[in-house]
Amino acid sequence: MSDFPFLSILTLLPLVGAVVVGVIPRRKAELAKTIALIWSLVVLVLSIFMWVAFKIDGDRFQFHESYQWIPSWDARFTFAADGIALVMLMLIAVLTPVVILASWHDVDGDGKRSAPVYFALLLAFEFTMIGVFAAADIFLFYVFFEVMLIPMYFIIGSFGGARRQYAAVKFFLYSLVGGLFMLAAVIGLWVVGGHTFDFSKLLQSVGEIDQNTSRWLFLGFFVAFAIKAPFFPFHTWLPDAGGAAPAGAAALLVGVMDKVGTFGILRYCLPLFPEASRWFAPAALVLAVIGIIYAALLAVGQNDLKRLVSYTSIAHFGFIGIGIFAFTTQGGTGSVLYMVNHGLATGLLFIVVGMFVARRGSSLVSDFGGAGKLVPVLAGVLFFAGLASLALPGTAPFISEFLVLIGTFTVHKVYAVIATVGIILAAAYVLWMVQRTTQGTLNPALEEVPAMRKDITLREKVVVAPLILLLLLLGFYPKPVTDVINPAVQATMQDVGTTDPGPTAVTANGRAAR
């Protein structure tokens, strides 16, 4: 079973689906939606098979496939997945059908916009996401890294909310700027790394790169990933994009696409430039901690639900950042687990917020108030999503946040303590949001809106149920996921330490290593 070319098929399948859905005439919107849903479920089933076939105690990189592409540059279609990539692939495979179902009526009743195109773009986006996580060739990774902008650009630009043009352009330009920095670094790496793009070959040869070059190359990659993640101070595109995108697409944007940044740091920055990673770690930690506090404070002050959720994500990415740059196995595992849990929790939050927005026709907090009296079940789901997002014990994000904090505390006490303040702020922004939208006296304007009288529908229940289940399940029993993540994180941390004199210098002696 492990010889089965999982990754290439998994990558191409959504692309084929996107083409099929895209050519369906706009009159047959229902057909297009159904095909898109079934297609994404097939992808999900395939990735479950892949999860089963993954050997926890096997090689670091599994499902290795390689096909010739541009021989004179030694660029190949190489796919391989380690534990980190595997959980991200699962995340995208789970979220896409959920989002497709959640977006079922997003483009209805609008003569201007074509439903088949919207769902084709969602599948195209899934294609680029799977590609970016499955690639084990830096050239191929870069190709997916840039191409994934295009479907999201059109999703935001053509199907988004009020300021969609501005948001789409800002999103595209920010990402493109980061991508071009990375392009320079990729070229540099190719020249100094022995004219190859193969990740495993590069791992062998990067030791010979001199320190200064290595630091510049690190910076090129890091800026691209920091913009994508996004870390403070490169974050300003995310609230606009998240606020303007349709809720389902925003769930994918924040839940999966932004993880490419943190994934890229773990997969490429750390192993390829270990010395530079350690050298830049203090700066990265400071940025991450600033991001946690600053974004949380901004989230408290938001009046727009979608922007608020976007800001909470920036704060969460700060947590992921300190977990990565603490260079401890606990911190690293916590970060990867955080990436998964955040995808589920924020994805759920965005989708539920989208349900509220679709009913009310507005995403402003002040347009709600006491909505729980009209739609009690939906309000309950919002409350649960909020609690998961603030990492309440019993929900999955608690475990990852806890792991990140203890992983960081062992080496950087100050940062860990400051980051803990972020948890308190998280409680503030989530609870305030829930209180101002669903609790308290009923806003009389809400009663005027007929759609607000309709509580959660069957379709919406089917949408939120798997996410709620997963959040609870992983909250009580994260072992299946951590077992997959752990070996990959340990290998990554070993890469960071390999050129270091004394293998324990980083983990046990982080201060001295700086």
Binding site: I70, V169, L173, L176, V177, L180, L183, G188, W190
Partner: protein, 510 residues
């Protein structure tokens, strides 16, 4: 004195040029003798046959490596490749030039000498068939370009420069619509081009004074072992370079580009943007790599500054443009900067990647201008940017095609723009010119903005009252567009065959 011997001439090696020049002369006879009605069909067929025959002759010569006709012409890897590229791009341009169905009578005026705005002029703009002299002129220009990239001494190069420039000056003035703009463009191009040619000639004279010979091999030997004052060398090199930089549209010698690109009939703009660029960079490569390799440390920084200036000027000014043709003109200036980055790598990688870039960019730019010819209203092409708003709603197919080409210009992967940029930047890092790559990346960021603005206009803006229609392309324009788009996509996804071809060709003879 009696024993003056004729140099050995390898007619096979010269065949591509001889065919084009021969058929061009034949075309003039057709102009004189054939009845007016049948000229268009006859000329078009003749021109295509000539280009195909010439291309076949190039392919036959693919393994020839020799200097012939008394040292005047060098046939080697780059010559063969660039000649093939010019002919292929020229054939696609000819499809745009030969299109007669989009506008009655085509893009060219029948009698350019008629006073603009007179009654007679209005009549001819309305319904008279366009001039068929454009075909022989195009063939002369293409022939000159073939000679330009294969010239092996400075004088032959100068002659070739004039041979391909003069027809282009004329062609620029033949637009059916906006005649004044067209004539102004032609005059501007002619005057500035003549200055540039004069600079080139003067530089050639100085280099002759320095080296005692004009063939590139002799100059190379003299550079390696200088006998006379090096002032002559540097002054001569600077002047020759100015002549070439002008043709390649590099800052600060680029100022003609937007005016000429805007004023010229769009098919001719496409021809200039694709083929002239190949010819100019082909000659620049030969001069720098063959003759002046010995003083690379002296010219590399200077040309490096010019490359940076070109990339930044092209990108910054492209941001402020409101006319589609001018926007594409500034984008072509910036692209000339990226090409110069590849040239300045001064290694085999640099040579092969520059040649790859020339082909990749040529096909994309032909498709871009091809679409410009289609977006029209009652007064001809509607090139003002505001007029393109909401075109995606009205004609998604063409807006999609144009978007794809713009993404290629912006260097997004899976288009030839990305692989080409990757190739030249990689070569430059290899050649120790990392600083140029950093400026190249910065310029790409700036340049992404105007492209993206057009994409926003096409798709995300509401169509205005005055959004023009997209004409149904005739067979030839459709073919040109298809070729351009397919080449842009194919060279982005499977660039390996062409890269291998350029690598095999990347060796000059001296």
């Amino acid at each position: 004195m009696g024993d003056l011997k004729l140099p050995a001439i390898d007619y096979g090696a010269l065949a591509p040029m001889l065919i084009l020049f021969g058929v061009a002369c034949l075309g003039i006879l057709v102009e004189a003798l054939a009845p007016k009605k049948s000229r268009q069909a006859v000329q078009l067929t003749l021109s295509f046959l000539a280009i195909i025959a010439s291309f076949v002759a190039v392919v036959v010569q693919h393994s020839t490596r020799k200097i012939t006709i008394g040292g005047a012409v060098a046939v080697d890897g780059p010559t063969v490749f660039l000649q093939g590229a010019i002919l292929a791009l020229g054939a696609v341009s000819l499809m745009l030039i030969g299109e007669r169905t989009i506008e009655k009578g085509g893009a060219f005026v029948s009698q350019a000498a008629i006073t603009v705005g007179s009654q007679k002029d209005l009549r001819q703009a309305g319904d008279q068939p366009g001039a068929t002299e454009v075909y022989p002129l195009t063939l002369f220009a293409l022939g000159g370009m073939l000679l330009f990239v294969s010239a092996n001494d400075l004088l032959t190069m100068f002659v070739a420069l004039e041979v391909f420039s003069l027809p282009l000056y004329l062609l620029c003035a033949l637009a059916r619509r906006r005649r004044l703009l067209s004539q102004e463009a032609a005059l501007k191009y002619f005057l500035l081009g003549s200055y540039a040619s004069a600079f080139f000639l003067f530089g050639a004279a100085l280099i002759y004074g320095f080296a005692g010979g004009i063939s590139f091999g002799a100059v190379h030997d003299a550079v390696a072992n200088p006998q006379r004052s090096e002032v002559l060398l540097y002054a001569g090199l600077a002047l020759v370079a100015i002549g070439l930089l002008f043709k390649a549209a590099l800052a600060p010698f680029h100022v003609w580009t937007p005016d000429v690109y805007q004023g010229a009939p769009t098919p001719i703009t496409a021809l200039m943007a694709a083929c002239t660029k190949v010819a100019a960079f082909g000659a620049l490569l030969r001069v720098l790599y063959v003759s002046f390799e010995g003083v690379r440390w002296d010219f590399q920084p200077v040309l490096g500054v010019i490359a940076v200036l070109t990339m930044l000027v092209g990108a910054v000014l492209a941001v402020t443009q409101t006319d589609m043709k001018r926007l594409l003109a500034y984008s072509s200036v910036a692209n000339a900067g990226y090409l110069l980055v590849g040239v300045l790598a001064l290694n085999e990688e640099g040579l092969s990647s520059t040649m790859f870039y020339l082909v990749a960019y040529g096909f994309s730019v032909l498709a871009a201008f091809g679409i410009v010819t289609l977006v029209r209203d009652a007064d001809g092409e509607a090139t003002h940017l505001s007029r393109w708003a909401g075109l995606g709603r009205k004609s998604p197919l063409f807006a999609g095609t144009f978007t794809f080409i713009l993404l290629a210009f912006a260097g997004i992967p899976l288009t030839s723009g990305f692989t080409a940029k990757f190739a030249v930047f990689g070569a430059a890092v290899e050649g120790g010119q990392t600083w140029l790559v950093i400026f190249g990346v910065i310029s790409s960021m700036l340049l992404a903005f105007p492209y993206l603005r057009v994409v926003v206009l096409l798709w995300l803006s509401e169509p205005g009252e005055s959004t023009p229609t997209v004409s149904i392309p005739g067979f030839m324009t459709a073919a040109a567009l298809t070729i351009g788009v397919i080449a842009t996509f194919a060279l982005g996804v499977v660039p390996a065959p062409l890269i291998d071809l350029t690598r095999d060709a990347a060796q000059f003879v001296r």
